[in-house]
Amino acid sequence: MNFLEIHSLSKAFDGLHAVENLHFTVKKNTITGLIGPNGAGKTTAFNLITHFLPKDSGKVVYAGENLKKLPAYKVVQRGMARTFQQIRLWPNLTVRENLLLACSREYDSWWKSFTHTNEAHQDTQIDEMLDKVNLRKYKNHLASDLSYGQSKLIEIARTILTDAELILLDEPASGINPTLLRTVEDLIFELKKQGKTILVIEHNMPFLMGISDEVVVMENGRFLMQDKPEKVQSDPRVLEAYLGG
């Protein structure tokens, strides 16, 4: 079953086509990689899918629903959350506060956001998540005190805590050491075990090919192919796109 369907998605900036007629699908409870050379339009595609950028044309169908012009925050509330290529934590908030804001969905009710101060339940969730990423000791540290790799893990943890069914990770392995990379990998596999669906942009090919069930390839803003990792790796079109012939 297709959990996410991208139909003819296009976006141009001042005449430059960043994404053009893009189409691919993501099956439920799979890990799908999204690759392409630099400038292929992967991150723009993420921004369009999650509605952080308005599309020029095309359609995003998530869990059978055409998302049309739904605002980005409502897309998250529908169950599709993402991380960013450039980490976007709140540096002046603690790690706990960063995570609380993601898992405190009951506070979406305006009145409760003033009155509800017992956060024991959320704290349990946060502690469990911090144990998974081995960062519990940083719970009450400011996010600005974390290293790049730790920040990356907290951003992924925050995205997971939104309880999204479809998680889009933008370069989760970039700039982090092998130990943390292993943690990211474990986290992604555990999400899949829990029934979640994951779409990953990544330049670390051994990592991506090792975790993906399917890989989508983009070139110059367009769809190039979608297949199993082993087939993608040996496809001459992909080699040409990366090596330039």
Binding site: Y73, A81, L89, W90, L93, L100, Y107, K112
Partner: protein, 292 residues
């Protein structure tokens, strides 16, 4: 001397509430709204008109002023809060200038530059409060209740979201938060408390004219918040008190009246520059509640 001190304390109480109200939208949420003084003025005029035309007294006037300011702020927010940074600052500054023009020219409503006279002092349940110390006590109770409510807002999940929006609004949307609505609520609440401060001012000064909308007032509000520390609850209170004290210093050096204003501005500028250089997060960061 005692009357001077009491008067200063009453005005400080009002200003502290006004600063704290601005600290919510500017300090906590990060809205660079240069039109906050509009709501202080609207609150003041609401109380003045209700009192002189309809005979309503301070307590209902405080509530109605808050509601009126909240409604105007909601409309104001819908029109301006899609903007951010300098664009928001320019738009709100423009709105503040429009407010002065309206207050000066809408004679039927505001009596224009002649102002509104004959406003009653505080009357509580038919009891006229005339002594300055009694007014101070009453205002301390009212402002104290407002400050307590604002404290709760600052330290609630709503307050946490406002800090997140100030840090990175896109990240807040990425966890499913409706940031536009949150910013609008911040502006509405902030303006409602400014309206209460304005109504208190009206019932103390007993006269009101369009100078209440004077644009330089916003500079003092920003100064008090920067000195105290943006988004720092106790900092806003201490920043206001410090600025009021520093502003009074030239009076005690025997300067002629003509240069008291100028020397005061020099002191404020020195305070602002010193703070920005040496304690950019405010002089009272020690009093900031430790994040938990």
């Amino acid at each position: 001397m005692l009357e001077y001190l009491l008067s200063l304390l009453i005005l400080t109480t009002i200003w502290t509430l006004l600063t704290q109200s601005y600290n919510l939208s500017f300090g906590l949420t990060g809205l660079f709204n240069l039109g906050h003084i509009i709501f202080y003025g609207i609150g003041a005029y609401t109380a003045a008109i209700l009192n002189t035309d309809y005979g309503l007294q301070i307590l209902p006037n405080l509530i109605i002023a808050a509601v009126v300011c909240g409604i105007v702020a909601a409309i104001f927010g819908l029109l301006t809060l899609r903007l951010s940074g300098h664009y928001l600052a320019i738009a709100t500054l423009g709105a503040a200038m429009i407010a002065i023009v309206v207050a000066t020219n809408w004679m039927d409503l505001t009596n224009g530059p002649l102002g509104i006279r004959g406003i009653d002092g505080p009357i509580l349940f038919d009891l006229q409060i005339t002594e300055s110390w009694q007014i101070l006590l009453l205002f301390l109770v009212i402002a104290g209740l407002c400050q307590w409510t604002l404290y709760k807002i600052f330290h609630s999940p709503f307050g946490r979201l406002q800090r997140a929006i100030q840090d990175d609004e896109i990240a807040a949307r990425a966890v499913g938060k409706n940031t536009f609505l949150s910013k609008t609520w911040s502006l509405v609440l902030s303006s409602a408390f400014a309206g209460i401060a304005g109504a208190m001012y009206t019932h103390y000064r007993l006269f009101l004219d369009p100078t209440i909308f004077a644009l330089p007032e916003i500079i003092f509000l920003i100064l008090m918040i920067i000195v105290g520390g943006r988004g720092n609850f106790w900092g806003a209170i201490l920043g206001t008190i410090l600025v009021v004290i520093i502003g009074e210093i030239p009076r005690f050096f025997g300067f002629p009246d003509s240069i008291i204003g100028a020397s005061r501005n020099i002191l404020f500028a020195a305070l602002l520059i010193t703070t920005m250089f040496y304690r950019p997060k405010g002089l009272f960061t020690l009093f900031a509640k430790k994040a938990t």
